[in-house]
Symmetry: C2
Subunit: 416 residues, 2 copies
């Protein structure tokens, strides 16, 4: 089918879905969840076909693992649908309202964006995820997964559509998979001005950059996280060690993990040896001159190269930078961070305030781990990613990120 | 000076400005306003030079008028600065806050976007306007006016910078004019990823499309307005006539003026003749077959061409479309509008509700003129334009449109 026609049909379905109540959307989501459960065998069979094809194409093990579904992973995705069902419907919220001097009543209400597109990499569970979030927030969604996961995504989309069709008030047309596997589909999405209201890339930095650089429609960017921890001279050293350990080791491969320690010169000799002992070889420390002098000779301590600052290692590696005070720390962090999450460990009210006011990040912490930057931890329920852009939505995204507002005005013949 | 260096300096100044209190920003704005008043002669002299150059280049009269400054217009722009001073500072507002189960305190606070750029056409007063709005909201601003207004803009920017420099807590570096007149500057702005946080085009559709199509940084689009009025079969005809007259004639050249009437078949014979009499030749009616049959023979009544629907005439021309009911009206409007403002005149609660829920526009009216879609009318004070996009901000924009939020989190050593 022609791309423009697909978009037109999706728009029509989205207009219908936008009028559904929360209860109607939940019933349809539950029907889709049950259909996914009933189709588990077909979905896993399709996934095995994808895996065979990928292995024949010499896909690397890590990527094969991301592509692979099994009963547990599929059940996890279906549980995700039920988490979305449990969430509050953002549509219809009256955000503000007032009466103009002439008697005209004004309300600003939350409404779906309309039609979204998601361009994502190999994990087929994202298909389920993206569908549920878009459907609950009342949006039509165009899914464009990787060609490696084509069979899996087809089977998943078929199960979802079937489930929606079985529910009397479901809107099966509101979810569409682009499954030609052709690169031109991606270009069509990125240029669909007036047809698609927003595109979300979900995957590695290459995918995100490709989308940002080529999209002529609005993008919500879930970027990388180069998170910093600044250990002030007044820091509680035991707290600093615990927060640094948590930031680096609890889950090194995620965007809110710690990548760079910034240490006040006066805290170097108390903090760094204690941290190195706590790490006990579980992480490599890439140190600037001054911090290296303190730790020299200890295992897994090396000199930092210039490029280590500002790098998202996504690994058990931590860069260490020495500074002379809060101003240098803030300057360094604002230069090297990705505007995601940064934290200060301090006992100084003044420095805590200065850090929070001047650090330019989605989340700025005092005396806590950056690992809390997460929709689940924030209490938002379903995870839509962490926005590192400033427009529209910043930081952990709930369903509201997929909505906009409109003004409703009611009068009795007012003119200017 | 090198463009990247200009942006780096602007960023530094913006970081300083972001920390200024509302009172400090107001003092600096007042100092800039006084400097503009004191420099009136130099500014008008520069403007006369621009006008001479424009006349030599055979600029059209309408454009010359837009380029021209005089004492009144300059005083109006300075009054605008004082309107901005009177407005509430959006920075620092706590939008939401809660405590996580582990004791971590979360606040979402409003902060400046950082550095904005505005690309605008010949009206030099926009230079004053854009500066005041950006400064009050704590943002650095890069101004790129048209080359026709180069001398005027230079004189205005110099007066502003001087005024800011004279105020002890002013940040003169937070406003920069790009004044090489070279087209490559525009390209540099549109590609300044990481250097400029948002770009606002301000001018005609060509300028806006150029920016939207070429920007690789976020855009706030203040698009055109193809506004519709639907006269339902239950409409109060006198009200419908008054609202249509106001929408079309009170100020035909603006984006919230009416462009298309959508009339229920059953209202044609009562509404259209009454409207035509009220217009008394002051507007042309471009009618579809059915409405033409009702008005045939009257002055300034012609048959509509297909392209008349969905056209922003910005003139005393009104297209007329006949429909058979609310569903057809909504479908027609959603297809032909620009998502700006649309209105229904009706006595039916059901149709009013349906119209407001299903019309996809920034502002949806019941029994009132679309002319109220305006920052001033809404009570927002200074006018930043009407956003026709859905992301970030929709409808009339106040200062808040130039801000974003960040999360501030405070704990006592929380880890995951």
């Amino acid at each position: 089918m022609n791309f423009n026609q697909t978009c037109a049909e999706l728009r029509k379905a989205a207009e219908t879905l936008a009028q559904r109540t929360g209860a109607q959307k939940n019933a349809a989501l539950e029907s889709a969840a049950q259909s996914l459960e009933a189709s588990a065998e077909a979905i896993l069979r399709a996934n095995r076909a994808d895996l065979r094809r990928a292995r024949d194409g010499d896909m690397k093990d890590a990527l094969l693992d991301r592509l692979a579904l099994n009963e547990d992973r599929l059940a996890g995705a279906v549980r995700g649908v039920r988490v979305v069902i449990a969430q509050k419907d953002p549509v219809g919220t009256v955000e503000a309202g007032w009466r103009l001097p002439n008697g005209l009543e004004v309300r600003r209400v939350r409404v779906p964006l309309g039609v979204g597109a998601i361009i994502y990499e190999s994990r087929p569970a994202v298909t389920v995820d993206a569908f549920a979030l878009a459907y609950k927030s009342g949006n039509g969604i165009l899914l464009r997964g990787s060609s490696a996961a084509l069979e899996s995504n087809r089977a998943i989309a078929a199960a979802i559509t079937e489930g929606l069709a079985r529910c009397p008030e479901g809107v099966p047309g509101a979810v569409r998979l682009l499954d030609s596997g052709d690169r031109s589909e991606v270009d069509a999405v990125l240029n669909a001005r007036g047809l698609i209201d927003v595109v979300l890339p979900r995957g590695g930095p290459e995918l995100i950059n490709m989308v940002v650089n080529n999209a002529r429609i609005p993008v919500i960017e879930t970027g990388s996280g180069v998170c910093h921890l600044f250990v002030d001279q007044s820091a509680d050293i035991a707290m600093a060690v615990a927060v640094a350990e948590n930031g680096k080791l609890q889950r090194p491969g995620v965007c809110n993990a710690l990548e760079t320690l910034v240490v006040h010169r006066d805290a170097l000799s108390s903090f760094l040896p204690a941290l190195e002992e706590r790490f006990a070889g579980r992480a490599e420390l890439r140190c600037d001159e001054e911090s290296f002098a303190v730790l020299q000779g200890r295992p897994r301590v090396v000199k930092a190269a210039q490029g280590d600052f500002g790098t998202e290692f996504l690994d058990t590696i931590l860069a260490v930078k020495t500074v002379s005070g809060i101003d240098e720390a803030i300057g360094f962090i604002n230069t090297h961070n990705t505007k995601h999450s940064d934290s200060i460990i301090t006992r100084s009210v003044e420095n805590a305030r200065s850090f929070q006011q001047r650090i330019d990040s989605a989340c700025v912490y005092v005396n806590a781990s950056t690992r809390f930057t997460d929709g689940g931890e924030f209490g938002f329920g379903a995870e839509l990613g962490i926005s590192t852009q400033k427009l529209h939505v910043r930081g952990p995204m709930g369903l509201e990120a997929l909505t906009t507002t409109k003004y409703l005005l009611e009068g009795d013949g007012q003119v200017r």
